[in-house]
Symmetry: C2
Subunit: 450 residues, 2 copies
């Protein structure tokens, strides 16, 4: 074990020491809180699934991006989950008949991709998934988008930091058909739009022709992909910009109207370059991006009304998104939304630090008092050093950011201890029996850190 | 995907639907809260590690119990983590020089074992790990044991439900040496004690002889393994019971004295049959068991002063334990410590359910009010049904266990809404502008559910 490489986590994975873990929990609390406040219930599934669960939707091509394995002596092929949607669809399909509807679920699982690690992309990451299943109208989109946006707000981000870019496959499909794209080639057209920045202009033209577009229409297609409009655009101006009818734009306008009514409009833009690579989206599609457009997407999602069926369930409308922790973490860091000491001040603060100041009976009393306070739900620390130097012990209390110190000294003979407010620097004697109630009252509120 | 087997999670893994997830979060909150209140900081590591991290401590024999794999085209062997200790030791060793000491860490990671699933044992499970590194004295044992016990209390368990069984390898080693066991065969002797119930008496005798024990000593060895004493036993009576000196028993007595001083004695017994299979324990060893002794151990741990060194770090004293969620979950269920509806009442309760009762302007107002309340940190739900029947909507509010309903009806013209307390059944009109403050005040405390 002298191999220095084995001091490190595997490539593309992370060790979370306490400051990094405090940041992770800070992000997870914002995700979980926004989800619960929007009426979503938390779920989780296995960390690995049958390999075939992933090939059914994405084909065999995905296998190279997966960590797959067998049990020694077993004959089932498994893969570490690269995303949550297949697990979600499997869980819905398995109990579709008995689950109350609509199904509003969120999850904060770990995911794994056997890719080359790079900025914003790791081999193991955490992804928040929010899904609303069983609602056809745009209230579903509103609720999942609101959940994402409120989480951003709780992390200290504003519309100047993050933009929600919104599009709608139905609207873009109408525009493509107006250009002459064949109905049965629309999926190819979306794939082409999605990959447009990864190919040479010539290749783009050749593929556009295969979809049934002439050179003028191909040029218009490029224009559509660059079309950005304000969130309060009406159906006529959307139709005019894309070259489809106002009626085609109505479903998107309905969603925009709701977003504005819910005071979320300031976060959102229409951006018809947003396609989302995956074939399974059927209506709205959206991404959250850093405002300047640098970095990868923070989140992506949309409506996928056919997916539950694909996994053997009934036909059910559905909307959802995924948001990873890696790009979001970079953004929070770059925007100065994390404490300077890399998470230190996000770590739980002790309510009280117990100081044993010399009296022999204080030793046993410290043990008993610590147990009493912890049974009362308080965060209690003490020193492991042999010293009884009160100054040194108070300095240790300060270092761990304790709010109060209780000093067990000579007054213990009269049943009294010194209670010191470490921020204010004030100190007074109180009866030992009152310590629990006093510290609880000083804290006031239940902690949100669990 | 019509294959019904693929509706199920892989063998030995679990789907967590909302009620099961609520139970998991309930357990995790007790674990996390007890850890934080005892001054432990949360950490985590990668879900998979280099395979060699696991073979260094346990030898190649462990490979069959691991899920191991390579990346397609890669040449590194990885394994899903079967336990947390190697990751912990690696993380300590990597930063031993810079980490403040003592190191007090906890983690709640998922673990994986490629075993045959059975009652209390799954292929994927969650295990709480608590470790205190850098403290030699029994204050370290006290703090980790207190953390485990306070978590049991917060889950509603009492000393009538769960017992802490405590032993000490140093004391048992002294007793074995007094019987004539050779110093260099003590590790074998502990392994023999640990597996004694899994072998025929004859095999036990043969192995005992190999360790250097005659037949009388072997019989005494069996007696030691059945020795149970009260937690307030003095050193002399422990020495007498085991056949070692009172001085040999002192380290254990010191720990017992602290446990009693901290009001934890009622949970604990001395049980010299507790060995813990793993070779790396160097002092105290303990297990938590269901009181009757049925089921597997709920938790196990002890002192492992040589382990950090084994993983390439400096020599550091250490104490820790692991507690899985599976046996604990069975125990909580069997003892009636979980809500009847399998977690339903552990799920977060909505603060307010918004009812849109017909006024056309209510539709947009519901969206805006929902956003305002959620921005204020409240858990807000509404119906997805088209109905405006207030009775039906209130019944839906009751079903999701909302505390209050806000009814937006005809009074909205005067800027008023009806605020209904769903438990008390009372209802009164309040200004729309007061809704946020009223519901926040009614809730009173920050939620502990995050």
């Amino acid at each position: 074990m002298s191999d220095a490489a084995h001091r490190q986590p595997p490539k593309g994975t992370r060790d979370f020491y306490p400051p990094e873990m405090a940041i992770r929990r800070h992000i997870e609390r914002a995700w979980r809180g926004a989800s619960i406040d929007h009426g979503f219930d938390e779920i989780d599934g296995p960390t690995f699934e049958h390999l075939s669960l992933y090939t059914v939707k994405s084909g065999e091509g995905i296998i190279n991006e997966l960590f797959s394995f067998r049990r020694a002596g077993g004959d089932d092929d498994y893969a570490l989950r690269p995303e949550f949607t297949p697990t979600l669809a499997r869980m819905v399909a398995a109990r579709a008949a008995s689950l109350p509807q609509p199904i509003k679920w969120f999850a904060i699982p770990t995911h794994f991709r056997a890719e080359r690690p790079q900025r914003g992309r790791l081999r193991e990451f955490i992804q928040w998934n929010v899904d609303l299943i069983g609602v056809e109208g745009s209230q579903a989109e509103l609720d999942v988008l609101s959940t994402a946006i409120i989480a951003m707000e709780r992390l200290g981000l504003s519309p100047a930091d993050v933009r929600v870019r919104l599009s709608h496959r139905g609207v873009v499909a109408a525009a493509l058909q107006a250009l002459g794209a064949q109905q049965e080639r629309l999926a190819d057209a979306f794939a082409l739009l999605d990959r447009r920045e990864k190919m040479e202009p010539k290749e783009f033209d050749v593929r556009a022709e295969a979809i049934g577009l002439g050179s003028a229409a191909t040029e218009r297609l490029g224009l559509i992909a660059r079309t950005k409009l304000p969130i309060d655009s009406d159906a006529r101006s959307i139709g005019a910009a894309l070259g489809c009818s106002a009626a085609d734009a109505e479903p998107l306008v309905e969603l925009c109207t709701r977003l504005i009514a819910a005071d979320l409009g300031a976060w959102c833009d229409l951006d018809f370059g947003i396609v989302r690579g995956l074939a399974y989206y059927t209506g709205s599609v959206f991404e959250l991006h850093e405002a300047s457009g640098a970095e990868r997407a923070i989140a992506g999602g949309g409506r996928y009304d056919k997916l539950i069926e694909l996994f053997g369930g009934p036909s059910m409308p559905a909307v959802g998104f995924g948001m990873g922790d890696v790009v979001l973490g970079l953004l929070l860091h770059d925007r100065g939304k994390l404490p300077a000491a890399d998470g230190d001040s996000l770590m739980p603060r002790p309510d009280v630090f117990l100081v044993s100041a010399g009296a022999p009976e204080a030793e046993a009393m410290v043990l008993q008092l610590a147990a009493t306070l912890r049974r009362g739900g308080l965060h209690v620390r003490h020193s492991y050093k042999a010293t009884r130097n009160v100054g040194k012990l108070l300095s240790e209390a300060g270092k761990c950011r304790a709010r109060h110190a209780i000093i067990l000294g000579a007054e213990l003979e009269q049943g009294m201890v010194a209670w010191k407010d470490l921020a204010a620097g004030t100190q007074r004697l109180i009866p030992v029996a009152d310590v629990l109630a006093s510290v609880q009252a000083a804290r006031g509120q239940a902690r949100a850190e669990l």
